[in-house]
C-alpha cells in the first residue's frame, strides 16, 4: 500500500519535471528568432550579425522589402537581415505577444496609433543618441518630419515615408458635369458641387464613413484629440460633424451606409459597383499613397485623381503624416547594426532604388528627388501633391493617438452607421460619441 503510494508520487514528480522541461523548451530556442539571437551572440565577434525586421503590408511591399534586405547583405556581407511580414491585424497580435516575451524583432514597422503605447511600455529604443552622433543621418530630413517620431522626451520612430489625407475623386464624372475640384476648396463650395453632381448624374459623395473625416474636421475646429481625454466639455461641439452626414443623407448628396461594405480598396464604392446608386464620385479612404491602388482598381473610363479634403480651414486640417515609422526594439542585441540598417533604408540610393517610395514619399529630400524619375506618373502625381500642394499649406500633426483611440474610433464607426441609417439624429450621435469617449479615456487613463 505504502510503496504503491510512493510510486504514484514518483510518477507524479516525473510528470511535473517533464512539464517543466517542455515549458522551458518552448520558452527558449524553439522559435527561429531566439535561435538567431543565440547565433549572433556567439558569432558577433567574427562579424556575422543577423537582424530581424518585421512589417505589415501587401505583396508588392513584401517583395520590394525582401529585395532591399538582400541588397543590404550584398553591400555588408557581415549582416543578414531576416524579414517577416504579416497582414495589419495579425501583425499587431504578433508584436503584442512577442513584446510580452521580450522577443520583438530588431527593426519594426510602427504605426502612429500604436507608437505611444509601445513607448510607454519601454519597448522601443530612443534614437536621439544615434541622431546626435550622426550614426543615423538626418541632415536631409525636414525638422518637422523628424519630430513626428517624438514621444515625450525621446525620438522613437523615423517616418518610413510621408503621406497626407486627401480626397479621391473621379475626374471623368466632374468633367461630365462641367465642374472642377480646386485644391484647398472650402467645405461649402464642396457641398455645392456635390449637390450639382448628384442632381445631374445620380452619383453621391462619400465623406463620413467609419472614423474617416473626424480628425480633419476636428482639426479645423481646433478640437482634435491631443491626449487621453475628450478635448471638449460638452457633446454639443460634435453636433455639426454629425449634421454634415445627417443633412447630406437627407438632401441626397451623401452616400448611405448600405452602399459600403468596408474600407478595402477593392470594395471602395468610388471604383466598385455597377450603377450611380451603388457608387460614389469621391471618397476619403486612407492616405495619398492609396492613389495608385485606386487607379489600378478603377474601371475603364474612370479617371481617379486626388485633391485636398474639403474643410473650412485647409491649413488647420491638413498635415503631413508619417505613412508609418521604422522603430528599433528596446530588446535588440545589436542596436548599432540595427541603426546602420535603418540609415540604409532611409538615406541610401541603393535601398530606395528598390523600394521606390512604396511606403510614401521618402523623407530624405535628396532621395525623394532621386527616385522621382523612376516612378510611375500616378506616383509622381502623389509626390507633387504632397510636396507642392499640401506641404506649403498645412500645420503640424497631432501627437500620437493616446491609448483608447482605436476603441473610440470603433464606437464612432457604429455611431456614424446609425446616423447614416437614420437611427440617430446628429444630437443623439454627438451625445453618444462624447459619452463613449469620456468613458473609454477614463478607463485607459486609470
Amino acid at each position: 500500500m505504502k510503496s504503491n503510494r510512493l510510486e504514484r508520487l514518483l510518477a507524479f514528480c516525473a510528470i511535473v519535471i517533464l512539464t517543466i522541461a517542455v515549458l522551458t523548451a518552448c520558452g527558449s530556442p524553439s522559435s527561429d528568432q531566439t535561435a538567431d539571437e543565440s547565433f549572433d551572440s556567439e558569432k558577433s565577434s567574427s562579424d556575422s550579425t543577423v537582424l530581424t525586421f518585421a512589417w505589415w503590408g501587401n505583396q508588392v511591399r513584401n517583395d520590394l522589402t525582401q529585395k532591399a534586405n538582400e541588397k543590404y547583405h550584398e553591400l555588408n556581407s557581415g549582416v543578414t537581415v531576416q524579414g517577416s511580414f504579416y497582414q495589419w491585424s495579425d501583425y499587431w497580435s504578433k508584436m503584442a505577444t512577442q513584446s510580452a516575451g521580450k522577443q520583438m524583432p530588431d527593426i519594426i514597422q510602427m504605426d502612429l496609433s500604436y507608437i505611444d503605447q509601445y513607448v510607454s511600455n519601454g519597448q522601443l529604443l530612443d534614437l536621439t543618441p544615434y541622431i546626435e552622433s550622426g550614426a543615423l543621418d538626418t541632415s536631409k530630413i525636414d525638422e518637422n518630419v523628424l519630430l513626428m517620431g517624438k514621444v515625450g522626451e525621446g525620438n522613437y520612430g523615423i517616418p518610413a515615408g510621408v503621406n497626407v489625407m486627401c480626397l479621391f475623386y473621379d475626374k471623368a464624372i466632374t468633367d461630365s458635369v462641367g465642374v472642377t475640384i480646386e485644391d484647398n476648396m472650402t467645405f461649402d463650395a464642396f457641398v455645392e458641387i456635390a449637390k450639382k453632381i448628384t442632381a445631374e448624374t445620380g452619383y453621391r459623395a462619400k465623406l463620413i464613413y467609419d472614423a474617416n473625416y473626424m480628425r480633419d474636421w476636428a482639426r479645423a475646429e481646433g478640437i482634435s484629440i491631443q491626449k487621453a481625454q475628450m478635448p471638449v466639455d460638452s457633446a454639443d461641439a460634435y453636433i455639426p460633424f454629425f449634421q454634415i452626414l445627417e443633412t447630406g443623407v437627407a438632401e441626397g448628396w451623401h452616400t448611405t451606409p448600405d452602399v459600403m461594405t468596408g474600407n478595402a480598396i477593392e470594395m471602395e464604392p468610388l471604383v466598385y459597383g455597377s450603377t450611380p446608386e451603388t457608387m460614389s464620385w469621391c471618397t476619403l479612404n486612407g492616405g495619398s499613397n492609396q492613389l495608385t491602388a485606386l487607379q489600378k482598381a478603377a474601371k475603364e473610363g474612370q479617371e481617379i485623381t486626388v485633391s485636398t479634403i474639403p474643410t473650412k480651414d485647409p491649413i488647420k486640417s491638413n498635415y503631413l503624416k508619417p505613412s508609418m515609422f521604422f522603430s528599433i526594439s528596446a530588446d535588440t542585441k545589436n542596436p548599432d547594426a540595427a541603426v546602420a540598417f535603418l540609415n540604409y533604408l532611409i538615406n541610401s540610393k541603393e535601398a530606395n532604388d528598390i523600394l521606390l517610395g512604396e511606403r510614401g514619399v521618402p523623407i530624405n529630400t535628396d532621395i525623394a528627388e532621386y527616385i522621382y524619375d523612376k516612378i510611375t506618373p500616378g506616383e509622381q502625381k502623389v509626390v507633387k501633391f504632397v510636396t507642392e500642394v499640401v506641404a506649403p499649406n498645412c500645420s503640424p500633426i497631432d501627437p500620437p493617438d493616446p491609448k483608447g483611440s482605436s476603441e473610440l474610433n470603433a464606437a464612432l464607426r457604429d455611431i456614424v452607421e446609425k446616423v447614416g441609417f437614420g437611427e440617430y439624429t446628429a444630437e443623439q450621435a454627438a451625445q453618444e460619441y462624447f459619452t463613449r469617449g469620456t468613458e473609454i479615456f477614463s478607463e485607459t487613463g486609470q
Binding site: I15, L23, S89, A96, A100, P257, S406, A410, E417
Partner: protein, 300 residues
C-alpha cells in the same frame, strides 16, 4: 538484476504504466487547457493590455459587461439569432439529405462525399471571401436573380435585414458532418421495425414519424448540442464576410472578443467576455439536457 531491468520492472507496474501512458494527454491538458484557462480566468479580473503587466481590478470587467456595454448586447443578440436560426435549419437540411442518401444506389458514395465537402471547407477564409463576392452588388447572386427575371441590385452584406442571412445560409450549407452522423444512425434502425410497420399497413409518412424520427432523437439531440455550441463560437464568417456590419447585426460574440483583445488592447475584458460566454453555453447546454427526457427516445 541490472538497473535497466529494474527500471523496466518499475515502469511495468500497473500504477506507473497507467500514468506513463496517460502522460501525453495529461501534459497536453495541463499545457494547452488548464494553464491557459487559469491565466484567462486571472486576466478576467485584471486590466490587461498584453503589452504592460496586468493590474488587478476585481469584478469591474464583469460589471461593465452587464451594466454598460451596448456592443456586448448587440453581439449577444446577433450570436443568439445566428445560432438559434442556423442550427435547426442545418439539422433539418442534414436530415433530409441523409434520408435521400441512405438509399443504396450506385452514385451514393460520390454524393455523400460531395455533400460533406462544404463542412470541411466551409469555415475557411477562402470560402468566406468567396461568399463576400457572391453577395456583393455585382456578385453572382444578384446576377442570377436578374437572369431569373427579378432585377436585383441589393447590397446583401450591408442591408440590416439580409446581412445575417448570408451568414446563416453559409452555415446551413455546411450540413455535412451532421448528415454523416444521421446517415450512420439511420442505418442502425432495425429493418424489422420497418417490416412490422409495413405489415400493419403504415404509410410512408407514418413510418417516418413513428419509427424513424423517434429512433433518431438521440442522434438529433447529440447534433443539436454539438452544433449549438459550435454556432455560438462562429468567428471567421462574421470577421471576413461582414466585419460585423451593418449596425453590428452580424457582430458575433467571438469577433467582439477578438476586437477587444487585439484591436482595442483590452485583453482582460476579452477574457471576462470569454468566461461569460462559457457560462451562456453551459446554461444552454444544461437546459437542453433538461429537455432531454421529454423528447429523446430511450431504449431500455
Amino acid at each position: 538484476m541490472n538497473s535497466i531491468q529494474k527500471l523496466s520492472r518499475w515502469l511495468n507496474r500497473e500504477g506507473v504504466a497507467g500514468v506513463v501512458f496517460s502522460l501525453p494527454f495529461i501534459i497536453g491538458f495541463l499545457l494547452f487547457l488548464a494553464v491557459p484557462m487559469g491565466l484567462s480566468l486571472t486576466y478576467s479580473f485584471c486590466n490587461y493590455d498584453i503589452l504592460s503587466p496586468a493590474r488587478f481590478t476585481g469584478l469591474s470587467n464583469y460589471i461593465k459587461i452587464f451594466t454598460n456595454d451596448q456592443t456586448f448586447i448587440s453581439s449577444v443578440k446577433a450570436t443568439f439569432y445566428f445560432a438559434l436560426v442556423s442550427v435547426p435549419l442545418r439539422l433539418v437540411f442534414a436530415l433530409i439529405v441523409a434520408l435521400i442518401l441512405v438509399r443504396p444506389t450506385k452514385a451514393v458514395g460520390f454524393y455523400r462525399a460531395a455533400y460533406y465537402l462544404p463542412s470541411i471547407i466551409g469555415g475557411s477564409v477562402a470560402i468566406s471571401v468567396l461568399w463576400r463576392r457572391m453577395f456583393a452588388v455585382d456578385g453572382v447572386v444578384n446576377s442570377l436573380l436578374t437572369l431569373a427575371g427579378i432585377p436585383a441590385n441589393l447590397n446583401w452584406l450591408s442591408n440590416t435585414r439580409t446581412a445575417i442571412w448570408t451568414l446563416i445560409v453559409l452555415a446551413v450549407w455546411q450540413f455535412g458532418s451532421s448528415m454523416l452522423i444521421f446517415l450512420a444512425a439511420l442505418k442502425q434502425i432495425p429493418v424489422s421495425l420497418y417490416e412490422a410497420a409495413e405489415i400493419d399497413g403504415a404509410t410512408a409518412g407514418k413510418t417516418f414519424f413513428n419509427v424513424t424520427l423517434p429512433l433518431l432523437t438521440p442522434t438529433i439531440f447529440f447534433n443539436l448540442v454539438m452544433q449549438t455550441i459550435n454556432g455560438f463560437l462562429a468567428f471567421t464568417q462574421s470577421l471576413i464576410i461582414t466585419d460585423g456590419r451593418p449596425l453590428n447585426t452580424t457582430l458575433f460574440y467571438a469577433v467582439y472578443m477578438y476586437r477587444q483583445a487585439f484591436q482595442y488592447g483590452n485583453a482582460g475584458y476579452a477574457a471576462a467576455l470569454a468566461w461569460v460566454m462559457l457560462a451562456f453555453i453551459g446554461i444552454l447546454t444544461f437546459i437542453l439536457f433538461q429537455t432531454k427526457k421529454y423528447w429523446v427516445y430511450r431504449q431500455d
